[in-house]
């Protein structure tokens, strides 16, 4: 079994991001920056009805707009659309302005159908049906473990709560889209994607082409957070337009499009009953949840649970449980994987219930967790966090903070089942006689630092400096790699590069007749290759990576009881990531997860309009995300566990933030705001200062 070196020069230290300079100087070319020879704009016309029978789409007037070179429908013939924003047609033209004119000129005849955009409405028997002949809501049987009723009867303390979370939108800064060129040789597509190979296969399938005729590139991409896996409908449309106009077409979604049709995190409406014996040992848990993943979820419809079902009772050991989860279809865009799918809402529901129970038991919330959390790693992390955060000094009885602006603290834990490596990952290295080296993998860098991780591992194994390694990724011509999801990229890539470089070194040493070609011997060894570069293939190896990262976070907040404003003052994070590959980029990932979790706690929510069925806040002026003025002090402690190997952490770090903040708010004001996002209106309503809002139904 291979193992990581114990004495390291780069692994577990900090190397600066190797592709920072092109990003800082505007030289990095993202899919939206590709200016292929003779390129045209592409744009999509979307349904303005949340539900309708489309009877005809007339493109003639659009085609007559000066500058328009092609217009096509997404589907021929009559069809039903099921959400506002569903794709109807696409155009290609010489300017953005011509395309905008063309979209306005397309004539669509439609017979509007009744629609429903809220879960609670959709569950009613007389609600309009998203899918004809199918109920909107699934009809699940509760799953029981142990004897729940008997256990509750014997509990010393029982709490009941109804905790809700909104639909959250991904909103990566670069929208979905691509530049696609279709020639006689095949299709070349620069796609903003989390999986170049997955996108290639989806494009080939959608275009009925051989996979070998499709090349997907993604050297730089502007974030994904789970939304940028296939299907790549917008790329398929760009390809169809490109074929028609015989020129490359760049089709990027608008920010409005982004809010409608390319994924979201499902909502949750969690009814939780939780009971414990007098010493705080959890005994019984009852859970009845419903939520929507948009049109793709519901009774007998396809698409599975759309990530609506939550892994409850999350990280806690409870002997008796009853869990029922209902998936509800509504007329809205479908859910997609979103950074730790199902975990942040599960964590929020369960951690709120834990704190409410702690209050009822008169126990310290951290003590209650230590009593019921089976993870040794989290136990250790809580103990580090108690000291680092100053929990014992800061934790006060709920609502006891004096004055108008009240201070509170809270905590929460996370577990992530993924984060392990994909055993199919492959890579190769090319060593040139002049000593230059290129390492190639068919993976992509979402901004997490994948390229830097590759350079760090290669440099460590070969005894070189990271800047000597030319890293090539984001191309289906390179050895296949997995899509970037499940926090799997780092634990897939690092062992693969380890294998590639170990084998490369062995071959180089054999060919050059040098016992150790590393470091100062590198160039003389490479010179002995003569004229032929050495190309060595390798693949993922077991024993170098692990899964299941654990983390805990503490939050300190201030709540203004007159305005209802919540200010996060501090987040303390203790995170395990196994063997830390690059501390610098690891830390950035932790910051990012916390800040996104803060948005989930306080600001983010897709708001649907009952009457029109539209998304009311599709752009950043109304869909609020954390800004630089909102950022608290973030204190990070990384738990180094090299014996576990490399573990991905991109997802786990965002899980417990909202839970910790929500608990801190409850601790500050002495009452629970049981709905995310924790807006000023909800805080004031919880304090009884304003009536509960009837607007926000999530």
């Amino acid at each position: 079994m291979p193992s990581w070196p114990t004495e390291t020069k780069y692994i577990s230290h900090s190397t600066l991001r190797i592709d920072a300079v092109p990003k800082l100087t505007g030289q990095a070319r993202y899919s939206s920056d590709i200016q292929a020879q003779g390129w045209l704009y592409g744009m999509i016309l979307r349904s303005k009805w949340p539900a309708a029978k489309i009877t005809s789409i007339n493109l003639e007037k659009a085609r007559a707009i000066p500058g328009i070179k092609a217009a096509l429908t997404v589907q021929d013939g009559e069809r039903t659309v099921r959400y506002y924003g569903e794709e109807l047609a696409a155009v290609a033209g010489t300017t953005k302005q011509a395309c905008l004119d063309a979209l306005r000129a397309i004539e669509v005849e439609a017979k509007p159908l009744p629609h429903v955009v809220h879960e609670t409405e959709a569950m009613k028997d007389d609600s309009p049906k998203v899918w004809e002949g199918s109920p909107n809501a699934s009809n699940p049987k509760p799953s029981d473990k142990g004897d729940v009723d008997k256990a509750f009867a014997e509990c010393a303390a029982v709490i009941e709560g109804f905790y809700t979370t909104p639909v959250q939108l991904h909103h990566p800064m670069e929208t979905h889209g691509s530049t696609v060129s279709w020639t006689d040789d095949g299709v070349t597509a620069w796609v903003s994607t989390q999986g170049v190979f997955g996108s290639r296969d989806a494009l080939a399938g959608g275009l009925k082409l051989e996979q070998s005729k499709v090349r997907v590139l993604s050297e730089f991409m502007g974030g994904g957070f789970g939304a940028k896996f296939p299907p790549v409908l917008e790329s398929v449309l760009a390809a169809r337009l490109s074929r028609e106009v015989k020129a490359p077409v760049r089709l990027m979604l608008t920010r409005f499009d982004e809010a409608l049709a390319v994924g979201n995190r499902p909502s949750s409406f969690q009814k939780i009953k939780l009971g414990a014996s007098a010493d705080g040992t959890l005994q019984a848990f009852e859970f009845d949840n419903y939520g929507t993943g948009g049109l793709g979820s519901g009774g007998t419809t396809a698409g599975g649970g759309s990530g609506v079902n939550l892994p409850q009772p999350y990280i806690y050991r409870v002997p008796n449980t009853r869990v029922k989860q209902t998936v509800v279809a509504i007329n809205a865009g479908g859910a997609r994987a979103f950074r730790a799918p199902a975990h942040p809402p599960a964590s929020y529901g369960m951690e709120c219930a834990m704190d409410d129970l702690a209050v009822k038991l008169g126990m310290d919330p951290v003590e209650l967790r230590l009593k019921n959390d089976p993870s040794e790693i989290r136990q250790r992390e809580y103990k580090i966090g108690i000291e680092r955060f100053g929990w014992k000094e800061k934790y006060k009885k709920p609502g006891s903070s004096p004055g108008v602006v009240k201070v509170g603290v809270g905590c929460g834990g996370s577990a992530w089942s993924g984060g392990g490596g994909a055993r199919t990952t492959q890579g190769e290295a090319q060593i040139n006689p002049d000593g230059s080296i290129e390492v190639r993998l068919g993976v992509q860098d979402l901004g997490t630092g994948t390229k830097t991780v590759i350079a760090v591992v290669a440099a460590e194994i070969l005894g070189l400096k990271p800047e000597q390694i030319t890293v090539k990724i984001g191309d289906t011509r390179y050895p296949p790699g997995p899509g970037s999801g499940g926090s799997m990229t780092c634990p897939s890539v690092a062992p693969t590069v380890f294998d590639v470089c170990t084998k490369t070194l062995e071959q180089l040493q054999t060919q050059a007749g040098i016992a150790d070609a590393r470091g100062e011997n590198w160039f003389s060894a490479c010179k002995k290759l003569g004229v032929n570069p050495l190309v060595v293939h390798g693949q993922w190896q077991p024993g170098l990576s692990d899964s299941r990262a654990c983390g805990v976070q503490f939050a300190e907040v201030e709540v203004d009881t007159e305005t209802g404003m919540v200010t996060v003052k501090k987040i303390t994070c203790i995170q395990d990531g196994g063997l830390i590959v690059n501390k610098n980029t690891f830390e950035s990932q932790v910051n990012g997860g916390i800040i996104m979790g803060m948005g989930y706690a306080l600001y983010e929510e897709r708001i649907m309009d009952d009457l029109s069925g539209v998304v009311l806040n599709p752009n950043f002026e109304t869909y609020k995300v954390s800004g630089i003025g909102d950022i608290p002090e973030i204190d990070i402690t990384l738990l180094n566990m090299p014996e576990r190997g490399v573990i991905g952490i991109g997802e786990p770090v965002t899980i417990p933030t909202a839970s910790a903040i929500a608990n801190a708010v409850a601790n500050a004001i002495g009452v629970r705001v049981s709905s995310l996002p924790i807006t000023p209106a909800k805080v004031l309503a919880a304090l009884g200062k304003v009536p509960p809002s009837t607007v926000s139904k999530t």
């Binding site: 991001r17 100087t25 980029t585 800040i595």
Partner: protein
């Protein structure tokens, strides 16, 4: 090109209306009305450009860009799609995200909210125009050292906002940086590092307090 409106179009032109107003109203109002009339007359006799493409000359990063643009083309669109300067990014096209931030005469602006024709005659600086001869600016260098970027799509906008701030105020406070970057959105969550980078570029050392603890 659209013809200027003729004086006698219709039986009651705006000008005659304003003139008649002038003869019947009090003196002050008459003066104002005459001023409005003069403005209108001036506007009417000026060339109305568009809707077709017109020649537009932009001075970007010290170089002259001669383009043919419809008057409705934004500065962002002109940079990204009529020249090869794709450093400024389109994140919202609506003055809500700041990814398109450039400087016009040292003032940071959303290039998606400025028409290219209106930016003529001004000195436009994009992120491509900062580093000279391959040398990063102090701000860019600090962003690199502090890892104040992840996916990098918002980065040009933040770099421009911080650069503009430091030109105006070489020693900003934390609140100054927050204010200067309030119009920029980052979804990856690089804001703490951007704050450190901005302060470092202004000469304030910022070291990571992150601790690594061995489990074993």
């Amino acid at each position: 090109m659209k013809k200027p409106e003729t004086e006698n179009a219709g039986s009651f032109s705006r000008r005659t209306f304003l003139k008649s107003l002038g003869t019947t109203a009090v003196a002050v109002a008459a003066t104002q009305a005459n001023a409005v009339a003069a403005e209108l007359e001036k506007a009417n006799t000026e060339k109305i450009i568009g809707p077709n493409a017109v020649p537009v000359t932009l001075k970007v990063n010290g170089e002259t860009l001669k383009l043919q643009l419809e008057p409705r083309v934004t500065l962002l669109d002109a940079l990204r799609n009529y020249s090869s300067l794709t450093g400024a990014k389109e994140g919202c096209d609506r003055a809500a995200c700041g990814a398109c931030t450039v400087m016009i005469d040292d003032v940071p602006v959303y290039s998606c909210q400025n028409l290219a024709i209106e930016a003529q005659g001004k000195a436009i600086t994009t992120v491509e125009g900062l580093a000279k001869n391959g040398n990063l600016t102090k701000v860019q260098q600090a962003f690199l050292e502090k890892d104040a970027l992840m996916c990098g799509y918002c980065t040009p906008g933040f770099v421009m906002s911080v650069t503009a701030l430091l030109r105006k105020n070489p020693h900003p406070s934390v609140d100054d940086v927050k204010h200067a970057c309030a119009g920029n959105i980052c979804r990856c969550g690089t804001q703490p590092r951007i704050m450190e980078a901005a302060l470092q570029a202004s000469g304030v050392a910022c070291n990571s307090k992150t601790e690594v603890i061995d489990y074993a």
